[in-house]
């Protein structure tokens, strides 16, 4: 079957080891995409988007409903689902969040928490708590034998796609003109406005973009995990811990921390499965002891 049937790492067969590492990498891909979106939104809006998990769930459900009701498959949904979630985000920002910019940032957290409850509650009401399966697109079905392990094609695609998305977003913020506006507005909003940049529009677009990123992560996740109303709220708390570890000062920091903590979680599952659900929180506590500002943080 395998090229190295006898190879073990610390008494664990290498296939099991690499398999869990892949699971960790997949989880890390989602941590990275979601913490990236949180960091982008927080950087400019100074709001922690508690609804990020719900928007991720919304992306997955958008894909699922497009398929069930309109027969629209995975590939068009990959564009449409983030677009839908992004538009919902823009509407929310215009109607509500834009009224909260002057007040304590905690209110933004509380508002988006309420929003998350409503979104989750609505989908729970109509779809129950059990998950709905979403098939892997035919193009990516099956797997590839890499010699040392068997890689399901879709999982390889998720890792590759998330890397492209994360690096693409990072490049767009660091290298484009719009990105430079965004970075400048993050530093000093009123000065940028004085230079004639339409900052309110920029804020709206940023929230829309952040929401769309969550939606994109959601549709990517649909074939891996089941499409369920609760898929976001379980994830968002871990992503918050990731964000505390990485610090939200740096976009690249959020991405790297996401992948690293996903891998750490996968490794823990190999050696001490009981602790795998809390390892990210333990790492967070250790980082708080050693470097309270976070690994990439720059706030005092």
């Amino acid at each position: 079957m395998s090229v190295w049937p006898m190879v073990t790492i610390l008494g664990i067969p290498i296939q099991a080891f690499l398999g869990q590492l892949l699971v960790g990498l997949i989880n890390g891909s989602f941590y990275a995409m979601l913490s990236l979106g949180l960091a982008v939104i927080f950087g400019l809006l100074r709001i922690i988007n508690f609804a990020h998990g719900a928007q991720y769930m919304l992306g997955a459900f958008a894909g699922y409903l497009l398929l069930v009701h309109f027969g629209i498959g995975y590939w068009p949904a990959l564009i449409l689902a983030p677009l839908i979630v992004g538009i919902v985000g823009i509407v929310i920002e215009r109607l509500a969040l834009s009224r909260l910019y002057g007040v304590d940032p905690l209110y933004g957290l509380l508002f988006t928490f309420g929003l998350a409850l409503v979104l989750e509650g609505v989908f729970r009401y109509y779809f129950g708590v059990s998950g709905n399966p979403y098939a892997v697109p035919p193009l990516l079905a099956g797997g590839t034998n890499l010699g040392f392990m068997f890689l399901p094609n879709y999982r390889g695609w998720v890792v590759a796609a998330s890397l492209v998305i994360c690096l693409g977003t990072w490049l767009a913020i660091e290298k484009t003109r719009l990105g430079s506006y965004l970075r400048a507005a993050t530093e000093n909003r009123s000065l940028v406005q004085a230079f004639g940049v339409n900052v309110p529009l920029l804020l709206t677009l940023t929230y829309g973009l952040g929401s769309a990123l969550a939606g994109l992560a959601g549709i990517l996740a649909a074939p891996v995990y089941q499409v369920s109303p609760l898929m976001g709220s379980d994830l968002i708390i871990v992503v918050f811990a990731v964000v505390v570890v990485g610090g939200m000062g740096s976009i690249l920091g959020a991405i790297v921390t996401g992948y690293v903590l996903g891998l750490a979680e996968g490794l823990t599952k190999v050696f001490y499965p009981e602790a795998s659900s809390i390892v990210v929180f333990v790492i967070m506590a250790v980082v708080l002891l050693v470097r309270p500002a976070g690994l990439f943080g720059k706030e005092a």
Binding site: F42, I48, A96, R99, L100, V103, P105, L106, Y107, L109, L110, F111, F113, G114, L115, A116, L117, V118, L119, E120, G121, V122, R124, Y125, S233, I237, V238, F240, A241, V243, V244, E274, S277, I278, V280, F281, V282, M284, A285, L288, L289, P292, A293
Partner: protein
């Protein structure tokens, strides 16, 4: 000078009004079990105390904890376990819940006070989620089933808490003692320092206060009082389950405080009464509670951030200052 004495006089009349209202409120609570289902009242009292304990931290120290379910639910587990498995008497079981919650608060607070604002909220949420996973997997909590059939026992060997009226008045006493403790903390020199931290942390540091110690002390006190509420609740309902330690419970207590009025003495109790009442109403209607909770959250943040009691205070204040001129 005249202005000052005038304000003083106004405050005194306000104080007199408040005292009269307080006496009226206590009388109403004493008479209530003869008119309203006692279990419902006790659940309001437990959640009211929980919300007031939370408000000690958010309203008077300016720290938003998103993990208070850990203290409430943790204490419920400790008390339920002591009362059921070790057959401890009720007072001792509740005390164990308080001590356990305080210890848990010391650990979580130790990590959380290293960061401020939004990060503080996220850290408390993450650590309480860690405690949730601990409760989910640890054998002593009974996993998904929780601890059920907790005996209420005899208070001090004299009072049978199995009778609804007896336990109601005990819970009322616990509630009033807890509220009095919070009132004393808030209006002590210690409480003034907490408020100064809320208003301007940097200035409090520059005045020489070791802000970190004060924050941790406030956090532990808030956790202990939340534990008092949780331990009492475990005896009232005779069970402790994962619901009490889940993050939704942390959200619920925030909602109660926000709805009633952050930083007001009585607001959280009003908020708790409304939320518990609403949940009771919705339980029979089939309308999902989470949606209602979320909608109230959004409405509160957008429309009346001061909460119901806070808005009433603000209204009275503006009227008073207008009539004063």
């Amino acid at each position: 000078m005249a202005e000052l004495t005038l304000q003083e006089a106004r405050r005194q009349t306000a104080g007199r009004w408040e005292r009269a209202l307080l006496a009226l409120g206590i009388l109403a609570l004493l008479a209530a079990p003869f008119f309203v289902y006692p279990i419902f009242l006790m659940s309001i009292l437990c959640f009211g105390l929980f919300a007031c304990a939370f408000n000690l931290l958010l309203g008077y120290t300016g720290l938003l904890s998103f993990g208070h379910a850990a203290f409430f639910g943790g204490a419920a587990y400790f008390s339920a376990y002591a009362a059921k498995v070790w057959s401890w008497p009720p007072a001792a079981a509740i005390l164990l819940g308080v001590v356990g919650a305080a210890a848990l608060g010391a650990v979580i607070g130790f990590f959380a006070i290293r960061r401020q604002g939004i990060y503080f909220a996220m850290i408390t949420l993450a650590l309480s989620q860690m405690f949730f996973f601990f409760c989910l997997q640890s054998p002593f909590t009974g996993g998904e089933d929780g601890i059920q059939g907790v005996p209420r026992g005899m208070l001090f060997g004299l009072l049978d808490l199995g009778r609804p009226l007896n336990i109601y008045y005990v819970v009322l006493a616990v509630f009033l003692i807890g509220l009095f403790a919070i009132w004393r903390i808030v209006n002590s020199p210690f409480g003034m320092i907490l408020r100064s931290i809320r208003e301007n942390e940097a200035r409090a540091i520059s005045l020489g206060y070791s802000v970190a110690n004060y924050k941790l002390a406030a956090f532990v006190m808030s956790a202990a009082l939340a534990g008092l509420a949780g331990g009492t609740k475990a005896l009232v309902f005779q069970f402790a389950t994962l619901t009490d330690v889940a993050w939704q419970m942390s959200g619920e207590v925030i909602l109660m405080t926000l709805l009633g009025g952050i930083g007001t003495m009585i607001g959280p109790v009003v908020g708790a009464g409304l939320v518990v009442g609403l949940q009771n109403m919705l339980a029979t209607s089939g309308f999902p509670v989470t949606i209602a909770t979320g909608l109230i959250f959004m409405a509160c943040v957008l429309l009346f951030r001061r909460g119901i009691v806070g808005e009433i205070y603000a209204l009275l204040q503006s009227r008073r200052s207008r009539s004063g001129r």
